[in-house]
């Protein structure tokens, strides 16, 4: 269903209809601080802010880990380890809110926790390089701060806030990252496979340049950070 109209028209009659259409509308809740605000406070050691981050991100963290393992007790243990790592990083000043969103940082800690888990169960030794090919792409010290900074750059590039990736390049590389082949991408975007490949290469070059400007070089340094068990 497509509804056309200008925003100004919509705004004019928005309020009365909101009240009738949403009959149980309550007084606006006093919102929690945004994650960004909580991240800044938590980085300064504010425990209450940390609890807000913990409360708001834990469900998503469980969902992410459940994509990698179905063992619920393991998921709970990894979630606990992640939060323990996050708190430790906050306490030791290893999180800089100016460099990465707190969600990105928590994700980076979780990916390291997952990597350590994989190591502990000897998955990495058993797997061939091609079997475990995800994660830990940053050169140099593979700490959470560096990984989160690299991920933040990519996040910004992918939602158009950074780099000159075109819309088509963002689509192509997003699909490619999900494992789609050039042919599949071409079918889904109704372009030729060669165009899909060109877009992918162009997008990757641009991303590599952006990462390089920040001192990151995507080399095969670590493996398996968020790969499924």
């Amino acid at each position: 269903m497509v509804l056309a109209g200008s925003r100004s028209e919509l705004v004019l009659w928005a309020e009365p209809v909101v009240r009738s259409a949403m009959s149980s509308q309550r007084e606006p809740l006093k919102p929690d601080p945004t994650l960004a605000e909580a991240g800044v406070r938590a980085a300064q050691g504010d425990r209450e802010a940390f609890e807000i981050i913990h409360r708001r991100l834990s469900p998503g963290l469980r969902r992410l880990l459940s994509k990698r393992t179905s063992d619920q007790s393991l998921i709970e243990e990894l979630v606990q380890r992640t939060w323990s790592g996050v708190w430790e990083a906050f306490s030791h000043g290893r999180y800089d809110p100016a460099r990465a969103a707190v969600s990105t940082f928590v994700y980076a800690v979780a990916s390291h926790v997952w990597l350590r888990h994989l190591r502990s169960v000897k998955k990495l030794d058993a797997a061939s390089p091609d079997e475990l090919s995800t994660g830990g792409m940053v050169e140099g010290p593979h700490d959470e701060a560096s990984l989160s900074e690299a991920l933040e750059v990519v996040r910004r590039a992918m939602d158009g806030r950074l780099s000159d990736l075109t819309e088509q390049e963002r689509w192509v590389i997003r699909l490619a990252a999900e494992g789609a082949t050039d042919r599949t991408i071409a079918e889904r975007l109704k372009i030729s496979p060669s165009t899909a490949n060109q877009c992918k290469q162009s997008a990757m070059s641009k991303l590599a340049r952006v990462l390089a400007r920040l001192g990151f070089r995507p080399e095969p340094a670590e493996r398996g950070s968020m790969e499924r068990e």
């Binding site: 497509v2 919509l10 309550r26 960004a36 994660g135 792409m137 996040r155 819309e167 991303l207 080399e219």
Partner: protein, 204 residues
Amino acid sequence: MRDQRILDLVQMASEAEELEQSARLTFAHTPAETGMSWRRVGVLGALAAVLTMAFMVWPRAPIPGPPQVVMNRPKPVAPKAPEQVNTGPMLLAVFHQPDARCDCVVWEEGSFANRDVREIGRSELIEAAWKARCADSSNLMLVVALDGPRELLPTDEDSARVLAACLSIQSEECGAAASCYENASEFISPSVTMVAATLATTGK
């Protein structure tokens, strides 16, 4: 190998974005407010219980009851509640012009039939909205999936436009920053679960 590393980073960044979006599913009071509220409920509940007990055990003269009348009535038939048709999360996509004007709105039910809205990822949201797009020249697409009691969701074109307008109000200050749209939760009942994603586009 370098290419695979970049693709891995893109995938991880996408998951980090999903993690942030999951934080918007909770429309919670601050702990202090919640604690105060429950304390009040607890005190009122305890007071009510004490009054009830006092009323039950208070000595009073026996009151003769009314004569008992037995009537044979047909067994009442409970009215059947209208069957709720839940078609799953609702998709709402708002396409913005470069000047922040709302270009057009797509409103669909059934795009995510039988899905838990919290499991819908950013790329799924954007792909669904992109397939149904109504504008080629917009520079920002805001996509929202909503689920909850049907009476709290847009039920027709008008209420869908209203919600789109409410969300659009945020766009001038939020731009493409998806997390900023959490302010829009003021327009949505806390009983409604919402996931949102944005895609900045270059237009044609």
